[in-house]
């Protein structure tokens, strides 16, 4: 059962991004910047660190596809960017896994990579004509700060979850 716990929790985060976050932090015309929640990506990067690149890419591409279908109209953008971000953030070293600061740093850079990639892809297909500086100030920076704080809150529960999964797997192995 613990096997399905990870996708289940990520699905909850997915719902939070689109439904709960939008209800409790509605976009406002007075705000000069956009707050884009990237909770799923935080979980995907953590999966990538603690479960290896393979699982990370699988979960990333899967939830990216769901994101594309449910929240946007263009399939492929998030599927590709999330999979790619999961792949490059697969630092599976022991020192990274046991520390608290390293995952935060990796998550923040992964969020920046994802924001940049989605911006670039939307720019190429003509979905936006935002300049890079505007993109950085209006989207990337606020998003990095907000999601960085969320990452601080999420890392510990996910570390616990991954330890539990590992323990059950070892038990089954014996």
């Amino acid at each position: 059962m613990i096997r399905f716990a990870l996708p289940f929790f990520i699905f909850l985060l997915f719902l939070m991004e689109g439904t709960l976050f939008q209800i409790f932090v509605p976009p406002s015309p007075d705000r000069e910047f956009y707050l884009v929640p990237r909770f799923v990506l935080i979980a995907v990067v953590l999966t990538s660190i603690y479960r290896g690149a393979g699982s990370g890419v699988l979960i990333g591409a899967g939830f990216g596809l769901l994101y594309d279908i449910v929240y946007t109209d263009i399939i492929g953008i998030y599927m590709f960017s999330m999979g790619f971000t999961a792949y490059i953030s697969a630092f599976t070293y022991r020192s990274v896994r046991t520390s608290f600061l390293w995952p935060v740093l990796i998550i923040i850079s992964a969020i920046f990579v994802l924001e940049w990639m989605t911006y670039g892809l939307h720019y190429i297909i003509g979905g936006t004509d935002l300049l890079f500086e505007e993109f950085f100030m209006m989207r990337a920076l606020p998003s990095l700060i907000m999601n960085g704080i969320t990452a601080l809150l999420l890392i510990y529960p996910f570390q616990r979850l991954f330890t539990r999964i590992r323990e059950t797997e070892e038990l089954q192995h014996w």
């Binding site: 709960l20 769901l66 449910v70």
Partner: protein, 314 residues
Amino acid sequence: MPHFFSNKRLILLMVSIIVLVSLIGFSTRNNETITWPEKFLRDTTGVVQSLVSRPAHMTAGFFGNVADIFNVYEENQMLKSRMEEFASLSAELETVKQENATLREMIDSESSLNDYTTRTALVIHRSPDKWTDMIGINKGSQNGVSKNMAVVTSEGLIGKVKTTSEFTSSVQLLSDDSRTNRVSAMVATDGEPVYAFIEGWNEEEEGLMLRKIQSDAEIKEGQQVITSGLGGLFPRGLAIGTITSLEPDEFGLSYNALVEPAADYYNLEQVNVIERTSETLDDTIQQNTNEENEEDEEEPVEVEDPDAGGGGSS
């Protein structure tokens, strides 16, 4: 990324880029409907989203109410002053309605572009990345919602249905920045109505862009912009907003105006999907729809519109 640039990985990257390009090409094609796997995924997530969003809206609404209590007094004062205005307006509306009905009887026209039925839907999600401005609602093709129907709140038009699945549909808001986001609108002037298009959101000046206004049109700031009912499935006379500024376009052949939206696109909870009842000019079909309406007790709502039937002579 320990061994990122080994040959196998590079090939995998290339393949996935090709897949990406083909998927984007597949989904940006001029598509009328979405495929069944997409519908399935949207419906299943839609069910969960409906379950989650209802209590969330209630909680958010509760905190909103607590905040509202603090300015109840001022609001009450303002509403009282508006109340008298409202009484005289509704009396006027009643006489205009009656007059409209008699006039319509005289010309034997049973239905007009103003008639519509509404379906209430709950907002279940909003696209979290703000590249597109779309919301999801919990009514789909099974509930009779179809593509390009108008979506309104009590304040005015907010957008149109972009795609539908069986139990959910996604609504493209007027503030969405897409090039295909276009609504046929008209400006309610004293004389002939002026027709133009609402074409997306102006990021710098924070307003909707009303474009392709004829240069000889008599338009002032502060005039109402409403839907024209000429294109698609929109009824005539849904409020869009008021004109705040006006300027000639780059070639000087027509005017562009900035429209301050009547509806709030930001705190959406319940929306109404609107279906125009008078679709065709065929008499028999018209009568059938009217009879159905009476049986269904879904009264076609008349909207006050002094220029209705003014005809598009231009």
